[in-house]
Symmetry: D2
């Protein structure tokens, strides 16, 4: 008989892993863990070795009996698991740098999860995620796949459309919004309620509650301080006019849709100033982090990890795992099958909504028509996502072009065609589903 949960982490060599291990240790009482298996590809073996050693020191320091092992054999690591966490990155930070820079050649925003960059990342990532799903299906696994790999919305959509496994897509932005509100009101985070809906990186807190009392107006009007500042996206205030027009608290990624001009100008300025794209800056942070990780005296998550972005990532992951494992109901924002939560999107759409997590998985708690002010944008981006998933699975260039034409961050059909050409050419090693152009 198991003495605790068995967890596999794909992309185990990521600098995030110590954060995840720290979270597991913090919630050990609620969810005892028997085994953590890190998986990575051979290029990541050395990094995986480093994080594995740090992780073992962390476990020992806290006096827990958790086996932490590593492997390059992904399929083997999927057997007999309760949870599989995806946190890998196909093509690494170099691919991210391309995702961020190709669109900018043609005047479009360069970002790794939205716009044409998110499109490129989806094309590379979805086939790999579906291979993992295929393995789990063939193994008859009952594991829950918790996916953090971006673009989380399209990855979850691909899993809904093309697999039968149990999957939940996760993101740390909603919990950061909740944390910021808790801090602003001086309450515990679980005393903050949010009616949350939308798509990953395109979502909104429609109503906000403190201990069951609706405080939405206060949040929108008084406390602009309540808006979170996340490390990995440019900080910017929404402005009173916009919040007045929208009447909801937006996910910080909305700036790409609403302030595209300015964001693009800033990105261009950063590039011109020699700062490089975000990927370039992250590479430097990572190099530092791995140096730190190798210090044999380090036995806990180092404070420098904060700079990496992804704050409270482990909080989200471990909260979901323990709610399922212990059948302990908990309201969280996750990416799951719509059903009828948002009736203006398809039943099978992957959406980001408030949900009840317990032993039966995740059930949407949100239900309602979307406000006019954001409905159209959400529907437009979901059409883009549907087309992108189809293109990623079929390798059909026509559908890929249709996808990009539908992305609000791609200015025109001509630009879409050029960006598509460059993406396919420069990612060819990762896109076997697309035939090479003659």
């Amino acid at each position: 008989m198991n003495t605790g949960a068995r967890i596999t982490v794909i992309g185990g060599g990521s600098s995030y892993t110590p954060e995840l291990v720290d979270g597991i240790l913090n919630h050990y009482e609620e969810m005892p863990v028997e085994q953590i298996t890190l998986v990575d590809i051979s290029d990541g073996a050395e990094k995986m070795r480093i994080v594995a050693e740090l992780s073992r020191r962390m476990i020992e320091q806290r006096g827990r009996k958790i086996t932490l092992d590593t492997t390059l054999d992904r399929r083997a690591a999927l057997k007999d698991r309760d949870f599989v966490c995806n946190q890998f990155r196909v093509g690494g930070l170099k691919a991210r740098a391309r995702d961020e820079s190709i669109p900018m050649r043609y005047g479009a925003i360069g970002q790794e999860t939205v716009g044409a960059g998110g499109f490129a990342k989806a094309l590379r990532t979805i086939p790999v995620v579906l291979e993992i799903a295929r393995d789990l299906e063939e193994l008859g696994s009952k594991a829950w796949l918790l996916n953090f790999t971006n673009p989380a919305s399209m990855v979850t959509q691909a899993l809904l459309n093309h697999s039968n496994i149990r999957a939940i897509g996760l993101c740390n932005v909603p919990i950061n919004m909740q944390m910021a509100i808790a801090q602003a009101f001086g309450v515990q985070v679980d005393e903050v309620g949010m009616d949350f809906f939308g798509l990953n990186h395109l979502s909104f807190a429609r109503h906000i509650y403190i201990k069951g009392r609706d405080v939405t107006r206060e949040v929108l009007h008084a406390t602009t301080d309540a808006h979170q500042t996340l490390a990995n996206i440019p900080a910017k205030e929404w402005g009173d006019d916009l919040l007045q027009a929208i009447q909801m608290l937006p996910n910080s990624y909305l700036r790409y849709y609403w302030f595209g001009d300015e964001t693009y100008r800033q990105q261009t300025a950063d590039l011109d100033a020699g700062k490089g794209t975000r990927a370039i800056r992250v590479m430097a942070i990572e190099a530092e982090l791995f140096k730190t990780y190798q210090n044999p005296e380090l036995k806990e998550k180092p404070p420098e990890l904060q700079k990496r972005g992804g704050a409270y990532y482990s909080e989200v992951a471990v909260s979901v795992m323990s709610a399922i494992y212990a059948n302990r109901p908990r309201e969280m924002v996750v990416n799951i099958r719509n059903g009828h939560a948002l009736p203006e999107l398809a039943i099978d759409a992957a959406v980001e909504v408030s949900a009840l997590i317990d032993g039966r998985g995740a059930r949407p708690l949100y239900s309602g028509l979307m406000p006019n002010a954001v409905r159209g944008l959400i529907q437009q981006v979901k059409a883009f996502e549907d087309l992108t998933v189809e293109a990623a699975v079929t390798g059909d260039r026509d559908i890929a072009l249709a996808a990009l034409i539908n992305n609000p961050l791609v200015p025109s059909t001509d630009v879409a065609a050029k960006i598509l050409r460059d993406i396919l050419r420069e990612n060819s090693g990762y896109l076997p589903q697309f035939e090479l152009e003659g």
Copy 2:
């Protein structure tokens, strides 16, 4: 007892009126007409006098007994009518010139029916159309209001949301597409069938039939010649890649959404070359036309009218009127209440779809899910339209800003705010519903 239909034309002084009278004369056997009343505002009285005289000569030349009278008393002209045709323009061509130029100040496309220009025209037009509807309601009228006044989609939407009168929105683009296909295949126009759906100026022929046979592939692949060229929008081919990705024949206005960059560059080049906006060019054509109209020897629609745009405008108007009047079923593309024709739009949305017209009015013939490749764009623009109608009725600046933020042809929130400021300021004489800014 009536000896024929009684028709009122609001905006009767328009240069289009002889086209409409010509159409009525051509279909007289199918729909006898007893009376045509032209209505205009005092500023248009002289033009109305000119077109009324030409129209009377045309009627006499064809040997019909139709009373044609003119008035400035709009409400009086709405009594005891079978049909009321809207073809007026609030603010005239000068307002159109502003609609076309304000957005261009901030890098956005300037067009009178789509984008920020269409938004401005909607704000001016909707209150006037709703006054007409109010008059018809108070008169207990059973007249059909046939609306050609642009933006036809939002005007129809406003009538659906805020009146109980019987209204149908009309546009000449679909019939031009049908005509072009008929010509390309060498058949009669009523032998061409189209499964047509979308919004006005954002619509698609999904399947095309000749005598009941599906010829969509032939139209899309072989006969690029089949695409119509309309006088009032820049000609441009779609390109094989795009048609391949979309798999439908698009309304020519799609170029504003799909080739915005290029269209904007061309508009800018025209301006720089001193050509002015389209409104400026139309003013010159109109001046010429009215000179021609005054020739007492002219007893028929002059060929120069073609240049004005609006080809087959009268064909659409008279076909709808006669199908209703004679209870003679006819399939046409019109703007009406969605019902469940397009289940991914709201039941009360105004949509442009194939419909059966007969004595009972217009019933949608289309039903189906929209293709991913265009669904999102249609939903996004419909959200813009809903917000614009709400702003036009309430005069709420927040909603007006939310509308512009949702328009795909407005690049960012900052630009939206600037355009909105200029529109409200420069149209203030026509926008009593909005309070003046402090």
Copy 3:
């Protein structure tokens, strides 16, 4: 090249065939016909010979060049057809007699198209219809299957669920309602409009129009005479209270649902009086008819055919065929895929609604929420139909029981179980899909 339509009639030996041939001759100008092929099973060969000879005399009398041939090879007769008409009856009138009598053993209504009798007929008929569909699919046929075989709703549903062929379900009740209204108002039948919706034998004219004018109130309140009396179902007035409560003109079959008690008492009284069920009476009529048909001097449809029921059957069939064949739009009531016509039923439900028939097939013209007063009954019966189709295809007894429990004419679960047992036992020769009970 064809010189006219090619039509196959399955169940060609039916006494109805001369009616159909008469209709074809009446509409020959609109739809020239080249060939009519009658198909039947060997048991029906003699009857088929008789109707074929009469039919040929009728054709010759009218001076038309139509080849009329007969065959027992059904699949061969499906090749190169424009239309295939189903009018066969699996098990003949003997099976019908069982359908009518088994339910009455347990206190339930005995009728061949509704209630437990319709259920039994569906189990026998659906597998045969699906064999025909399979043949048409394998032949790559583009023929339209026009199905008159009852229960028409469930047969159409089975074709929608389990085949890809082009099928339309037909019934003569709606045209009889339209005819009766035309007569009552002294107008032509095509001047009567009906907003018609529901399921076959459970349908309603919600609004009725004469030349485009709504006359529903007049029909419901003044002219009880306007209600049709069909030969094959017991005549009965609805009563003012009921029409007041329903506010629509019901299909005459509604009496089984609304006046079940009385109908059952009358059926029992008929049986006790030695009249037998309707099947027994029809057998006698048929015997007479076939005697008449054999008279070599008879060269037209004999008046006695009226007694058989099915008035205007050929009018419906030929109107649909000629509208499709000549691409001539015509509004008719047919059984087709719902789409979104009735949003409270499933998209794939077979429904009976007003539709536009032309060369592209049948497109629903009705759209709207169903009135509370009948919505529930329609939904309940559709659930019964869905379960029955599933039982007919799978031979699953549990689903068959669930179907009967859901039929409003079956009083309880105990009765359902007994009726099911008897139906399966006494129809075993026609129900190979069901395993014999141990």
Copy 4:
């Protein structure tokens, strides 16, 4: 500042009150209570005095500081409340006796919550509940109305359609099902999960879970013992065939729909044997209970209360109240607005579904298409409920007749008309909304 919840109980003189008080005392730690106010009409004043005295003895015995007062001024008792519990009965047990007996005169089932009896009770009850709602609205109350008064489904529906107050409909059947399953599996009740859906007294546990594991098959196949036996409805096993066909655990009230024949025979036999209807038997039990209550030595809920029916009634009421009061999330089955939980019912339909209760109220957790085997019955009964609510509010006899025609337990239109006549005549004192018949 409040030191605990303030609760008003309408129908406070009911024999159930000590059960409710007991529940409040049992959950005092979770939800402290400051005041309980009992309200009744003057006819119930003596009974209210008796239960108030017993309740005060119970409170004192447990050493709590709760003020318990009584009043005949209902509106005054609605001020400043956290919760208002409806447990009153318009017309008392005498009216119930009529509800049970009128239908039986015409061969229909006599029951107070389903069939024609439930219809009659709805007509009497809905106007009174809407008066309470009106009072709460006028008082600007934020109280939650917890309604136990039957027919709970139609009462909740009326509140949804005709008020803006916060209301939740409650029933003790679902918790009894959950309790029975817990007992059968030897687990705690909160370790049993149910995917629950339908309408009140017409609902189903679709899936059943023990600690997150799906045990539906085990419940349906092995443990027929798991089915609950409720005191106030005849015990009866479903039978293997039926459970096989339905594949869900039904609410015990389904017997009225599925075994109507047998239930009717048993009701008739009871009447013939002089046992009277259930109302008559309850009157005797009540008389006994009130005798017991008056014993000044009695200081706790007496065991005889069990016989009264309504087991775990207080468990449901107090669980909902404390989850809301303490903002402590708890999954329960309640009657609330559908939203999109059951997409085959209207958005505004009152449905009985699994929901998450916390400080924000009740949010549906269920979402899915209903199985064919029960979908139709639920839709049919919901149509009956919609019509009944409309009749109760408008007093329209036509709609009342349409309602009864739609009830599956009313055999025919003729019977419906007779039952309606008797109900209106014999309840005239309680039905001011209906005009007296001439």
